[in-house]
Each structure stands twice: as structure tokens, then as C-alpha cells.
Subunit: 117 residues, 2 copies
């Protein structure tokens, strides 16, 4: 993903912080689903590896970080993708992942503590 794409993704994410307004049931369900995807230590670390890489990450470069099987890593990556936190594309033998900053911005803003509080 290019820097321009990252910027466009990021600008799409916005919401009201929970310190400003309480969530309704629908928003709470949507937010909880994202936090559930981040609630596993392996998934959160996977997310951080993909998010901090600054470029697309080949799944072949990810498995070495963890002492778990490749299918387990694939399962966790699928959960992150279904939560809208990463996307991927297969090219030849390997699958490449990149972060979706809009989703990160959305949950980050949700939990932010406004200066006026």
C-alpha cells in the first residue's frame, strides 16, 4: 500500500470518544468486535508487526516471530482481516499484508481522552 493510500484510509476513520458520549448498542457491538480481534496477545503482536513495517509484509516473514504453527498464524491473520484491521493480497506463493489505518484511527479515537476533560 502506498503512502497516499494510507493517508486516504486514515482520513476515513472518525467517531466520538467514549469520554464525550456513551455508545449505543450498535456502536458498542461494532467496537467490541474490533477489540475482540485485538484481545489475543499473538494477534495484537501480529497487528503491530504489520502496522509498523512501513510496507507490505509477506506472511513468509511473519511466521519466524512466533513459536506457533503456520496455520495458527493464518487463522489469527484472518481474524484481523475480518475485523477490518488489515487487508491482504496473494501473489504467487505468498500472501502480503498491510494495515488499514482507518480502522485503527476509529478505535484509537473511540478510546481517546479529549484535552477538555
Amino acid at each position: 500500500m502506498s503512502k497516499q493510500q494510507l493517508l486516504e484510509e486514515r482520513s476515513g476513520g472518525c467517531c466520538t470518544p467514549i469520554m464525550v458520549a456513551a455508545l449505543d448498542s450498535a456502536a458498542a457491538g461494532e467496537g467490541a468486535a474490533v477489540f475482540k480481534a485485538l484481545s489475543d496477545p499473538i494477534r495484537l503482536r501480529l497487528m503491530s508487526i504489520i502496522a509498523s513495517a512501513g510496507k507490505e509484509v509477506c506472511v513468509c516473514d511473519i511466521t519466524g516471530y512466533f513459536d506457533v504453527s503456520a496455520p495458527t498464524i493464518s487463522h489469527h491473520l484472518r481474524v484481523l482481516r475480518e475485523a477490518g484491521l488489515v487487508d491482504c493480497e496473494r501473489r504467487g506463493t505468498w500472501v502480503y499484508y498491510w494495515p488499514l489505518p482507518a480502522r485503527l484511527t476509529w478505535v484509537s479515537t473511540l478510546l481517546s481522552v479529549p484535552a477538555a476533560v
Copy 2:
């Protein structure tokens, strides 16, 4: 909790965003535990009610928001407290809750998308 206490709490929370650096196992475990506490729709909504109130919230004013039993609400509040997201104090018959902004700031910063990305 007073505004001053809120400000002091908030200043204590800081970390490096996952878009800047990957997490090690210990930090991933700590973050995942907080996200697990927020991964249930009732708990996330509870958290938002307490966070947005702008004052301490009596548990007697919380139960009316939800179609679940008081013991279930108490269980969810305990999970939020154990995750460091809220604190509480019993006064007479009722327990009063307030948010801990340092913890919110910590996870919000963790997921933030720096402008330089």
C-alpha cells in the same frame, strides 16, 4: 474524581503506537488484556457510560441501561476494574464508579496513527 485527578491520571499514560514499533510479547500481553476487557458489547457500553458521565456514576444509575441482571452488571464492572479502566468506591448502600483516563490514553495511543505515516 475531580478534574485535577483526571488530568493527573491522563498524564501517566503513554506508549509507542503500533504503527511506529512492533510490540514485544510482554507489551502484547498487557495490551491484549485491556482489549479483552473491552471486547464485550455490554462492557464497552458500560465503559462508555462511566467515561462520558463527567462525574462518578452510581451503580444504581447504570443497571437501567441494560436488560441483564444486576449480578451480571457487577461481573462486567469487575472485569473493567481489573483491567485498570475504572475504579470504584462503596459508600453506604451503593458503589460509585469513575474512569481511569491513564489506561484509556495508553490504549488509544497504542492504536493511534501518527501523522507522519
